[in-house]
Amino acid sequence: MQWMTRIGMTILGMVWSVPLIWCIWTAFRPRELATSYSLDFQFTLDNFIKAWQAAPFGQYYINTLLTVLGILLVQIITATLAAYAFARLNFFGKDVLFVIVLVQLMVPADILIFPNYSILRDLSLLDSKTGIMMPYLASAFGIFLLRQTFKTIPYELEEAARLEGCNVFQVIWNVYMPLAKPTYVAFGLVSVSYHWNNFLWPLIVTNSEENRPLTVGLAIFAQSYETGAQWAEVTAATLLVMTPLLLAFFIFQKQFINSFVQSGLK
């Protein structure tokens, strides 16, 4: 029985690995081999060079990085302030605000593509990085996550800082943020991988190459080869797009998995 499950699981693990291996295998082989059943392997970087030259992936990288980091930075600011208010202050309307935040967890911006598009249109923010970021700048998940952590921080620390004459912002910056560092890392990982991978919204919002993120760039690159048989290049481009996150995951596996667990448990 023990052995059976072990074998079963090993097979499952292999099945799970196959798409990635197949992807790497195709990307590094000459393109003629992609359409044959042959199992020969000859190493080449041609596919990557061709993909890199055919579409401005460098620009896409920069766009994705700026968008993702921009979102993260603003999310941290908005979520930290709100989380502090939730964790430490008793105020009028707290319950109402609580519900308002909860609703965002239930109604993710991803499904509001159409109304959010009209709002950006009215704000004249279509085809801009700000436009991609806008619907995600407040994060209910971030607020709840940080609030939970802030609550575990002893109130005495805040009082001590107050006695030294710190105002609210200084207290948050000096006391709360340093002590919640692991939470910020967790939130950061989840937020970055979410927005790095986001597709439908940026597809709708962006037109120009100056704003187009990697996922959208990859999608339209894959479609540019409508004559088919360009799988080698498309696979290479796919690898280019997913490598940074994948590599980060392989290196910081534990942090990643823990962060994702927290992301669900709030």
Binding site: L102, I111, W231, F256
Partner: protein, 313 residues
Amino acid sequence: MEKKIALQQSVVHLGTKQETKTSKKMKTNVQAWLLFLPSLIFLLMFTFYPVLQTIYLSFFRADLAIPDPFFVGLENYQQLKEDAVFWKVMKNTFWFVFTTVPISMILALAMALFVNRAIRGTGWLKTAFFYPTVIPMIAVANIWLFIYTPGYGMMSQILDVFGFQDINWLGTANTVLPAMIIMAIWKEAGFFMVFYLAGLQSISKELYESASIDGASSWYTLRKITLPLLMPTTLFVSIIAVINTIKLVDHIAIMTKGGPDNASNLLLYYIYETAFNFWNEGMAATLTVVMLVILLIVAIIQIFFVDKKIHYS
């Protein structure tokens, strides 16, 4: 809340000391709202306002034939009721969600149970199961499109080895949705696995120890201890899984565009098509409302069945 305010107001007359206290209270209120303001602005602008606007627009006729939208009451909903494509899309979405979710959860549970035992030489399995989670859906679609392509893809090669006739996975009405479900299971199971892992780690070791003293078989412990104690995790994961899976449509843009004959079309992609290919804005709003109703139902289920276990305060 109201009582408190009334109390405060009556206290104000009692003297200056209380007055400073109230003004302090006032100050806290202002401060808290100011701290909340940045989040509130974005939440109102991109969650609440769009929801209300969508509901409002769903009562209007607004498409390419109409220069100025006009009120039509429930006509859009009526039309939707008669739209065969809409029902097909709903059916697809239902099957996509309600096969992907249970199968990937069962697999996730099996994965977690095995990985949790931390047997030497099996550490790589956790990595192997989880890595699809960090890959963009668009990349997944590209890889799997190639896997499914008749004549060249991996599926063809495997069928060829065993001497079967090639299958046109994405070009046949009966196989396209299952093909996508398989891909979605591959993408999501690892994500759910980590919740089960967390759930397993929270079960006290002593329970297992006493069970083994009693001479219980491992099957018995699984059935009588592990699974019942994982119940809250299961309920909770199923909610996350449903919300996640309902949003999973990026691959359609790459693989099939919803075809053949809408056999792989899902609700969110249909919204995208209606809004940005057909520019039928009234109908796009109506479809979004349908999506909101579905999420509302999920939320109600969550509040009544799941939230008792996981509280936010």
